[in-house]
């Protein structure tokens, strides 16, 4: 070792990873060139490492170096989310650590293989969203309306909820499929001073908690604690009980003392490796690395600004599988500047695709990719 001061400069943090783990104010300083570069690099990776994606790219005469301008991103071959229902589309060479499954609400379960780096970047997308949308606080307690880690298995939704514990002190309030509202109430009323509670869970269980509060003739005022409520996962099998956003906002205000801006829905699906957060205006902002577009069912071309189409995602954070997804959702993408001041695209989901006709070209893509996986 030297006796004088020596400076050793270590580098090696990829710019995408830097964005995920360290990026701040990135919704206000959008850099389309960086997004293009990240997606181009991911496309090149999947063309090289995924047999299915290689075949799909060859059929569409696609190579990653065709991605020269942001508009070229619409040429990236898409894998139907249905393809994951047949077989996990693992990239060769990746060291898979977890087979993540969907809930299978609408039929067969999807299986998505994630390796360590892909999972790490998933957590990075959550950290990035927390920094920009929920304030970067240290003294925070996550209250998860989901089962503890030893009960979650491979189900992606509950597994990803359980990762809250990696980031913050966390308590879980579902065991053996039952929500313990009394325990949640007790925790909320006895939290240490200065600790911000963040309730995370599906809207149906949050609704159950509100019902329980009504039955018990109890209410809470979480405004002084600057609490956040994050809903995720939708109503799933309880879709018939779902309520509109205004009704939900009102009830959160009346029973928990929180304004609508403290209630945020976050979006993810098992095939997507990024969590999409809502801002204080309850708008879902597309993070800077993710490309989201709404496509016409007939030819998969992009629909006009603000029109409804099949939502497609180009997510460069996944390395163990190609996260270039044609989803089963109809939705819209807007590039108008949101009332919150952030300049990123904003997306919304209208509803799930219901019929073969609606799926159109998307169904054909699924068939193609499924044939590919079985070869």
């Amino acid at each position: 070792m030297n006796t004088d001061t020596r400076v050793v400069r270590s580098s090696g943090v990829d710019s995408l990873d830097f964005m995920l783990f360290e990026g701040v104010n990135s919704y206000r300083n959008v850099a389309p060139d960086a997004q293009l570069r990240w997606i181009r690099e991911a496309a090149a990776h999947h063309v090289t490492h995924s047999q299915v994606y290689q075949r799909l790219a060859a059929a569409q005469k696609f190579t990653a170096d065709q991605l020269e301008r942001p508009a070229d991103l619409l040429r990236v071959p898409l894998i139907s989310s249905g393809s994951f229902k047949r077989r996990a589309l693992a990239a060769s060479g990746s060291r898979q650590v977890k087979l993540c499954t969907s809930s299978g609400t609408s039929g067969t379960k999807s299986i998505v293989p994630r390796d360590g780096l892909t999972l790490e970047r998933y957590v990075g997308s959550v950290l990035h969203g927390i920094r920009d949308f929920l304030e970067d606080r240290e003294r925070r307690q996550a209250l998860v309306l989901g089962p503890p880690p030893h009960e979650v298995g491979d189900l992606w939704f509950t597994y990803s909820l359980s990762l809250a514990e990696v980031l913050n002190e966390t308590d879980y309030f579902v065991s053996d499929g039952r929500l313990d509202s009394e325990a949640l109430w007790r925790t909320l009323t006895t939290l240490e001073s200065g600790v911000q509670p963040v309730i995370i869970g599906p809207p149906s269980l949050l609704w159950d908690f509100l019902e329980w509060l009504s039955q018990q003739r109890r209410s809470l005022d979480l405004s002084a604690r600057e609490a956040f409520i994050l809903t995720a996962g939708g109503w799933k099998l309880r879709i018939d009980e779902s309520v509109d956003r205004d009704t939900f906002n009102r009830r959160i205000h009346d029973q928990l003392g929180l304004p609508a801006e403290r209630l945020r829905d976050v979006f993810n699906m098992v095939e997507l490796n990024t969590v999409i957060f809502e801002c204080e205006k309850q708008q879902k902002h597309v993070p800077p690395w993710l490309h989201v577009s709404a496509r016409r069912a007939s030819d998969l071309e992009a629909v006009d600004e603000g029109e409804s189409g099949i939502l497609a995602y180009l997510d460069p954070t996944a390395l163990s599988y190609p996260a270039f997804i044609l989803s089963d959702d109809l939705g819209r993408v807007s590039h108008q500047i949101c009332g919150c001041g952030r300049r990123s695209a904003v997306m919304s989901i209208d509803r799930r695709l219901r019929s073969i006709e609606e799926r159109g070209c998307g169904l054909r893509m699924r068939t193609y990719a499924s044939q590919g996986t079985s070869r």
Partner: protein, 317 residues
């Protein structure tokens, strides 16, 4: 490879109990202890994955919670001062060395400032590795204080009652922190520089280029005085003071740390194997569970291969 974890306790100069966890691998390749000291508002469980990495590379670690701070040790956070942290480190290191254990002290952030004085005064450690070290206390407090509070409010007489509570990084502490920092000479880079120059053991500082709370050039300046022992500064590019939330930066940090400590311990370099994602997750969960029991329950739920032992006073691995 088996790692045994043990709850240990010490007493500082003020008689307060310091609680820690000693982790010893069965294939230990150095008879000394790597002593990981949390920074301000951090607790020993935050260093679980770092400790795990050290153990997997043959090093025993000790982690303690600071007194007058968050965590399992005694005292209320509002009484925290740089001197109270220095007292903790002096007490622990002197008890370790009295038991024949060489110690490399690895303090983080604000604790690094305290460690410099403790080691300059007592010369007890075999090495000092400063992580993201605070060298300009005024600058860091200004940057870290969510309430815009700073030490000048004590200097200019805006605050005169040392029991007044001020908010620093989401924690209320007494303004006595500021009084003591100013009156006891903890402020200014020159004071750190002269203290580092007195330390006879090797001193290495690892800092982050994008750190909003600590300027890398200040750290270089603090280590620039001709010293009694070897000096080195490692600057990690593309990361910040929130380094623990960046797993890639953490891997770079662990590589730098292991290499540094192998050099201090005069050991041959071994290939570095990082924890997998799921290992990090299970370590974090385990550590949070241990913290809830104040480290009385060090049982392993997820890994049957790791044995645990009971509680004891002091360290006799």
């Amino acid at each position: 490879m088996t790692i045994s974890h043990r709850r240990v306790t010490y007493r500082n100069g003020r008689g307060q109990e310091i609680v820690g966890v000693l982790s010893v691998p069965d294939d230990r390749r150095w008879h000394g202890v790597v002593y990981l000291v949390p920074g301000f508002e951090r607790q020993l469980y935050h260093y679980g994955p770092v400790s795990e990495s050290f153990c997997r590379h043959g090093f025993a670690t000790l982690r303690t919670d600071l007194t007058n701070h968050r965590g399992a040790s005694e005292g209320e956070m509002r009484h925290f001062t740089l001197a109270s942290a220095a007292d903790d480190m002096t007490s622990v290191v002197s008890q370790l060395t009295a038991a024949g254990e060489p110690v490399v002290v690895v303090p983080s952030s604000l604790s690094a400032r305290s460690a410099v004085r403790a080691l300059a005064e007592h010369q007890l450690a075999s090495g000092l590795v400063l992580l993201l070290p605070v060298v300009d206390v005024d600058y860091t407090v200004k940057r870290a204080s969510v309430s815009q509070w700073n030490l000048d409010k004590w200097r200019d007489g805006t605050v005169t009652d040392p029991t007044t509570l001020v908010l620093i990084v989401e924690h209320e502490i007494e303004a006595n922190f500021a009084r003591a920092a100013i009156e006891e000479g903890w402020c200014g880079i020159d004071s750190v520089r002269s203290e580092i120059a007195q330390i006879k053991a090797p001193v290495v500082a690892i800092c982050a280029r994008q750190d909003d709370w600590v300027r890398a050039e200040d750290v270089e300046q603090a280590l620039s005085a001709p010293g009694a022992g070897p000096r080195q500064v490692v600057i990690l590019e593309s990361t910040s003071h929130q380094l623990t939330k960046n797993p890639i930066a953490v891997r770079l940090l662990i590589e730098s740390l292991l290499t540094t400590i192998e050099q201090i311990a005069e050991l041959d370099a071994r290939p570095i194997v990082h924890l997998e994602f799921e290992q990090v997750v299970s370590t974090v969960r385990r550590e949070r569970r241990w913290a809830k029991s104040k480290y009385h329950d060090l049982s392993e739920e997820e890994s049957a291969s790791v044995s645990t032992q009971g509680s004891s006073q002091g360290v006799h691995p």
